[in-house]
Amino acid sequence: MRNIHIKSMDESNLLMEWPGAISEDIMREIAAWQHAIEKNLSPIILECFAAYRSLLITYDHQQIDAEDLEIELLKLPVSKRKLRSKKWQVPVYYDEEVAPDLKKFCEEKNLTLKQLIKKHTSPLYDIHFYGFLPGFMYLGGLDDALGHPRKATPDKSIPAGSVAIGGQQTGIYPTTSPGGWHVIGNCPIKLFDVTQDPPCPFKPGDQIRFKSVAKKQYDKIKEEVTSGTYKYQKA
């Protein structure tokens, strides 16, 4: 089965692991597996969720054991076709007013603000999976030139919406939390809403592109989000 390793974690969790580096191909293959599992095995599966190179399956051990589940998995019709994904536009206000680390980050990376914005808004980022915090997207596709080691001492409180870079990754803090990444901007839209099902507007496998917005636009979007009239934009 294409070099996938299946390991039992405990009495009710199975881990499927893909070898090799993080890639869009593996992300799509994992998504296809997840789709097939959810579609075909849902009565015996409590849930399954992905990370960069793995899929974790929580099953009902009163209905099936690990060995039989593995046999069921091998029989699954996993589509080779790409699952449909959407491209979304995510507004970001790149300004010191909302991003205390912005100036220092540009200095340390020897970039002008304009260059930073261009490099950060150019790629189409893959949403590999959610983790760390409810609504936190693990994104693939950051420009190597923007990679920057995490802060030695994490900040105690990073405001919700903060767009940040840490190591070779970029992300948005959906809620206020401690964190060690460098904040370079703020995103005014809601990325996690408990009143919605699903609670996140974007799906794993979708792609996002950041769009630089000026203060006026940022404030306008914030108002729309508060009043519930904001519409998520396609990229």
């Binding site: 974690m9 405990d10 969720f49 974790l56 959610y130 983790g131 760390f132 409810p134 408990v194 794993p204």
Partner: protein, 286 residues
């Protein structure tokens, strides 16, 4: 109309928990649920509830609850010296509480988490298919002073009693059973020796995780790509500490997952307090 239960005092950390919030980890939402699920299930069964019904999880210092209705309750788990109108009441027993009576707790004698079940359906908020309280998912992350909780389908029965025997061994157990974790093979011989031949001490802990400490354990510098963790996953930190993730743990992590607690051992660990000495042993494969 006021609720059937009024929390005059909330206690140290009292919260509503069920068996967890499944189906939302793909959006980064932790599972949550009762820390010691064995005890929570037994409390529910004693009062005739569904095993997975919401219960009140009580930690170390219990709440003061005034009941506004005749109800049947059961308390299973830690012995936090429960008293009804100042009189001691037994654990592991279906009890009758009359309207106006006050449930209080005293000294924490054995274990640290007790589960209170009430016959009927606690009228609590359900978010994403679960009533388990968790910050920024439910309106409140725990029960606060003055909170009132209603009871739907109160199935109060006068005169019907039931009790179960719970072996004290459950609370005094010193051995945690583990499966090898996905990164077990990263462990060096000396680290394996530290894990399986030496004693570990419970460090700071909460609903997210338990730090387990052994000064002799060598550290490491191995990082792994961010990947899934589950309740019971034991991570090895660079400083050589073990971090046993519990019910409220994040869904992903970047430290090697060297061990995985059995479901029973998660429940056993959930009753441990700081400075308790523990050992690890490999679980028999089922």
């Amino acid at each position: 109309m006021s609720g059937a239960m009024i929390f005059k005092k909330a206690g140290l950390h009292t919260s509503i928990q069920d068996m967890g919030r499944y189906g939302y980890r793909k959006y980064g939402v932790p599972v949550s649920g009762s820390m010691d699920q064995n005890s929570a299930i037994q409390a529910n069964l004693l009062v005739g509830n569904d095993a997975h019904a919401p219960v009140v999880e009580i930690t170390v210092v219990g709440p003061t609850i005034v009941f506004n209705a005749n109800v049947n309750i059961a308390i299973v788990g830690a012995d936090l010296s429960p008293k009804l109108d100042k009189k001691s009441i037994p654990l592991n027993t279906r009890l009758i509480v009359h309207e106006g009576q006050t449930l209080e707790f005293g000294k924490c004698k054995l274990g640290i988490r007790a589960y209170l079940a009430v016959a009927g359906e606690l009228d609590v908020e359900k978010i994403m298919k679960s009533t388990s309280q968790y910050p920024q998912i439910t309106s409140d992350s725990k029960i606060t002073d003055g909170l009132e909780i209603g009871l739907k389908n109160n199935r109060f029965l006068d005169g019907v009693s039931a009790s179960i025997r719970v072996d004290k061994k459950y609370f005094n157990e010193k051995a945690l059973e583990v499966f090898p974790g996905p990164e077990y093979n990263l462990l060096q011989e000396e680290q394996l020796k530290s894990i399986f031949e030496q004693t570990w001490t419970v460090g700071p802990n909460n609903r997210m995780g338990y730090q387990l400490v052994n000064e002799l354990m060598p550290g490491h510098t191995r990082e792994i790509i961010t990947t899934q963790v589950i309740p019971g996953t034991i991570q090895l930190t660079p400083a050589g500490k073990l971090l046993a993730l519990m019910r409220d743990a994040q869904v992903t992590g970047g430290y090697p997952r060297v061990l995985q607690l059995t479901e029973l051992s998660i429940n056993i660990l959930a009753q441990k307090t700081e400075r308790t000495k523990l050992q690890f042993k490999i679980a028999e494969n089922d």
